[in-house]
Every structure is written in C-alpha cells, then in structure tokens.
Symmetry: C2
Subunit: 181 residues, 2 copies
C-alpha cells in the first residue's frame, strides 16, 4: 500500500478552483504559472472573456514553456446582451481547453475566468464538468472566476474562496497597469 | 479638483493584504510580481520564515528588475519554541523592509508571510503598522500571511481573505515541487 500511495503522490495533478468576489483569483493563477515555469514545467494559460496585451502576458512570454491563448473580445461583456462573437469565442476557448486536456501538451493548464463565462451562460456547466472529468491524472488544472457552482466545487480537489474585505475600487480608484492588469 | 484626483490616481500605490487560511496568499503575491515585472516595474520580494530555492524564485531570477531576499531558517518554525536565530532573521527582514520603504529602491514591495511572523510573535504589530505608515505614496506594498489583525486591515487599502473550502492536504497529499513551492 505505501507504494501505491507514493505512486499517487508522484502522479497526481489536482483540480484547483479560485473563486469569490475578492482580488487574487487570476493573480493566484499567475503565481502558479510562475512557480511551475520555475520548476521547468510546461504551462498553458487560457483566458476567457479577455483580450489585451496585459503586463502579466509580457512577463510570461519570456518563458518558452508557456503558451498563452485568449478567447474574448476587446469589448466589455454585458451578461444581459452577449454578442454572437463573444459566445463564439467562449466556445472556441472550451474547444481549445478540451484539446489541451486530451492531447496532453502541458503540465499546468489554467482556465482563467472560465467560471465567469459559465455565470454569463456563455458555457454550459456540463461541458466544464466533462473537462474536469477528462483531466489526465498528472495534469494540474486550475479554474478561476466568481461564482463557482457547487457541482464544480465537488469535482475539484482544492478550492479557495477569495473574499473581498476591502477594495480600493470602493474608493473610486481605477484599475492600474502593472498592478491590476 | 479633477486634477488633484488625477494626480492621486497616477501616484497612488496601495497597501494590499492577502490573508486567510486558504491556498493562494503567497501565490497571489507572486502573480503581482509577474504582472509588475511585465510592466517594467522594479520588484522586491522579501520572504519571512522561509529559506529555500523555491521554483518561483528560479523563475523570478530571470528578471533583472527583481530583488529577492529571504529571512528565515531552513528548519520548521515552532511558535512555542522559536530559536534565537529565527527571531534574529525576522528582525533583519523587518530592517531590510524598512530600508526598502525609506530608500525607495522598488515599485512593488512584497513582505511575504510577514503576518505569520507577527502571529508567531517574531515581530511586533507596532513595527509593521509603522512600516505601512511610512510607505511612500507611489509604492505598492503587499503583506501576506494568515491571521491579519484588525489594526492592519484598517491600515490597508485592499484586503482579500482567502478561505479554504477544500484542500488536498486534508486528503494526505503533500506539498509538491512546482505547485506548492
């Protein structure tokens, strides 16, 4: 039995969820990218609902082991009025993630803001549950975004709920380059 | 008045706290490092209670704008039996942080696990409050660790409380290189 346990330890990649209304979800996922890249692992960062040359992407591009793909439009997503293009981008992102999981091109796969795409009904819960279920045992899979549903929490191994205790946007301070994006 | 507000926007660095019992505090701080480095900012990462060549440090060393200093010992800190050396290291870390704040060598200063050093009584609350109060307006200051006291929460601008909903250590999975360190 100890051998089996050791085997599990060595092989086992986990499914993480970073959810909640506080700052730190995407940021924690970026920290995981940094740590994995430092350990020589291959990282794939998939961003849903986002399009832009954010500071973090400029830094990640220094690492040849890191693949970055964005599936979003530059316009703001209004959940009550989602454009056809936004919906198509989210579906493309899901398809890309599915291939990344099945074809095994990385050790750490981040699906950033996928939970917001779910909340905005751009993706179906069933499809995301299927992704998690299809995860090969050694892949580390990370989902971020507000409002993780209980079904996904049940399917994950590690779940952190980041609560906003205080946020400067409450004081009218806007997002700043190099800090928030 | 709009000019004053704009001036505030441009100049204002904030004090962040990432606290709570969940995974993601140091990891979020590392994400902030990555983002700031991508924006060409100068980063100083000060780690309390830690000593080791963690994967994240290997990745951060690729960036010439990033300074890393550790103030800890390689042994585990038992809060009921803190060694003289551990106490001395924490004090050196405080002194280093004070100089970094006063002498302005960086744009983002991370004091990683400083709140645990406080909780373990290696540092005094008053000294940390003084650090926060001495922060120059354009510096972004980040404190991490469990158990942030209310006085520090009051002094900070952005506070995220990371709650553990689920953690694999509950299942007996140990920390893994490239993921947890």
């Amino acid at each position: 039995m100890p051998h089996l346990w050791l085997f599990y330890q060595m092989q086992s990649g986990l499914t993480h969820i970073y959810t909640g209304n506080g700052k730190g979800k995407t940021t924690a996922a970026l920290g995981l990218c940094l740590r994995a890249l430092g350990a020589g692992k291959r990282v794939c960062l998939v961003q849903f609902l986002k399009k832009g040359d954010f500071s973090e992407l400029k830094a990640l591009r220094r690492f040849p082991n890191c693949t970055i793909r964005q599936f979003g439009t530059s316009e703001f997503v209004d959940p009550k009025n989602v454009s056809i293009q936004q919906r198509a981008e989210a579906q493309k992102g899901l398809e890309f993630a599915r291939k990344a999981i099945l074809c095994d091109p990385c050790d750490l796969l981040i699906l950033d803001e996928i939970l917001v795409a779910l909340q905005f009904k751009l993706l179906k819960l069933e499809d995301i549950l299927n992704l998690v279920a299809a995860k090969p045992s050694r892949l580390e899979l990370v989902l971020t975004g507000r409002g993780a549903p209980q079904e996904l929490i049940d399917a994950a191994d590690l779940v952190s709920d980041i609560k906003e205790v205080k946020h400067p946007f409450q004081k009218g301070i806007k997002a700043r380059r190099g800090i928030e994006f």
